[in-house]
């Protein structure tokens, strides 16, 4: 079964639909029109460039090149995560990089090697898209969870120090904050899982069906993709929180200033 291609003319017709959100963003004076136009243009240019690059990546199908590409993706994802959380780059970049890298390879190889049983797990057709899906999910979960975790820690310092001052270890004292971050980041994932196939037909499955796969194969892939993205998101978050904690707290368990807009090293008088 052949997938119907979309011509450039048809693409332009499709993109015309964006006029609807542009109109409402302008009408409601959201100040987001310029950003949305730019984002749309960036998306088009980036995806076309990636399309060209992926075409060659698939033709060459070189393990080293594919790995290099994935490592580059990890770097970009880490950089984006740091920017979006507003946390200090020096504190978060390396932990998030390690968290993403270790998790993507660990969970990715498990799926490609053990579940799919591929002979060549670096095959561009599988390796690059799977890593991309993992990284995309890890990125969104980590941004929400890390922002929540450190924001709440800054805001509710009294509680953190209360627990610490009554004998808690740093792990115990940060537990309520981690719990809250995990709940906030994973609630949408869990809600989505619960309605998958009834309310929402997810991207992987639709992509495969449009690409000519049998629906039952597409469903199996979708199921596995959901499983590995949840696992990767959780694992990467735990690694990131653990590693970033070494820089966010000093040896006495004192919380340092973790956000870029904060100037001095420790929290000042107004917080005490």
């Amino acid at each position: 079964m052949e997938t119907t291609d979309i011509s450039f003319y048809s693409m332009a017709v499709g993109l015309l639909l964006m006029l609807v959100p542009f109109y409402y963003l302008w009408k409601l004076k959201t100040g987001l029109v310029q950003a949305t136009v730019l984002a749309t243009l960036r998306m088009c240019v980036q995806l076309f460039l990636i399309g060209i690059y992926l075409r060659y990546l698939f033709v060459w199908d070189n393990a080293w090149l594919n790995s290099f590409w994935v490592i580059l993706m990890v770097f970009v994802a880490s950089h984006t995560a740091v920017s979006r959380t507003g946390l200090r780059r020096r504190m978060l970049f390396v932990p998030i990089l390690i968290g993403f890298l270790v998790t993507a390879f660990l969970v990715g190889f498990y799926f490609l090697g053990l579940v799919l049983g591929l002979e060549n797990i670096f095959s561009a057709r599988y390796f690059v898209p799977i890593m991309g899906i993992l990284l995309g999910n890890m990125l969104s979960v980590n941004v929400v969870a890390l922002s929540t975790y450190y924001n709440e820690l800054q805001r509710e310092q009294q509680m953190y120090y209360y627990l610490l001052g009554n004998g808690a270890t740093r792990f115990e004292a940060t537990m309520p904050f981690l719990r809250s971050a995990v709940v906030k980041a994973f609630s949408p994932c869990i809600a989505n899982m619960a309605v998958l196939g009834i309310v929402s037909l997810p991207g992987t499955m639709i992509g495969q069906i449009l690409g000519g796969s049998a629906p039952d194969t597409a469903i199996k892939y979708q199921l596995m993709i959901v499983v590995i993205t949840v696992v990767a998101s959780m694992l990467s978050l735990m690694i990131t929180v653990n590693l970033s904690g070494r820089k966010a707290f000093d040896e006495y368990g004192r919380l340092k200033h973790v956000f870029r807009h904060q100037k001095s090293r420790y929290n000042s008088l107004e917080l005490f």
Partner: protein
């Protein structure tokens, strides 16, 4: 039990506390007084290693505060900060929170003992089944004081124990502290309440 020698605390370039000395013996009730922003709370927090001292030395329960002793010091101390908001939904959960920590798991939580303390502090037993959002700031303050006493630690560090209380309730808190003192507990409290301070063994003006 508590000793500070030539302690100075700085935040950036601003010196908050300069060359401060204090000694509190076992079974004493001492309060720190002074204008807002003079560093009373910072001193209390420095005792637990929450605020870095720029110079000076601190001893708690015989140990000098350092990286090696700080966790032990926090284990022998009960600490109640001002205006504490805990994530619990129910009062019964809130009072149990410090007992769930590994360091305090050997201490038995006895509801009857808690209610005895609540009676002394003028709190009704019905509060135990109340939602935290339904209780007043003064009730919360006294509930946490009772929970701190239940932990049976040698040292109690309390920040503004009577800030949200009327004079009758303040008197109850003072009598409660006197009882703890008789049990050999060492209490250092930060307060603005002159009446409360006048009853303490010693008042240190900062």
């Amino acid at each position: 039990m508590i000793r500070l020698e030539h302690v100075s605390i700085e935040f950036g370039r601003r010196k908050i506390v300069s060359d401060f000395n204090l000694a509190v013996g076992k079974g004493q009730l001492v309060c720190l007084m002074g204008e807002s922003g003079c560093g009373k709370t910072s001193v209390l927090r420095a005792l637990l290693g929450f605020v870095p001292v720029s110079s000076g030395r601190i001893w708690m329960g015989g140990d000098e505060l350092s990286l090696h002793t700080v966790h032990h010091i926090r284990q022998i101390t009960a600490y109640v900060p001002q205006e504490l908001a805990l994530p619990s939904e129910w009062v019964s959960e809130m009072v149990r929170l410090p007992f769930e920590l590994k360091a305090n798991q050997h201490i038995r939580f006895e509801e009857e003992k808690l209610f005895q303390y609540w009676d002394m502090l003028g709190l009704s037993r019905d509060l135990y089944q109340s939602k935290v959002c339904r209780i007043s700031g003064g009730q919360r303050q006294r509930i946490m004081l009772a929970a701190a006493a239940m932990l049976d630690k040698d040292i109690l560090l309390i920040d503004e124990p009577t800030s949200a209380l009327d004079s009758d309730s303040s008197g109850r808190v003072f009598r409660f502290f006197s009882l703890l003192k008789e049990q050999g507990k060492t209490i250092l409290a930060v307060t603005h309440d002159r009446k409360f301070a006048s009853g303490c063994d010693r008042t240190v003006n900062m």
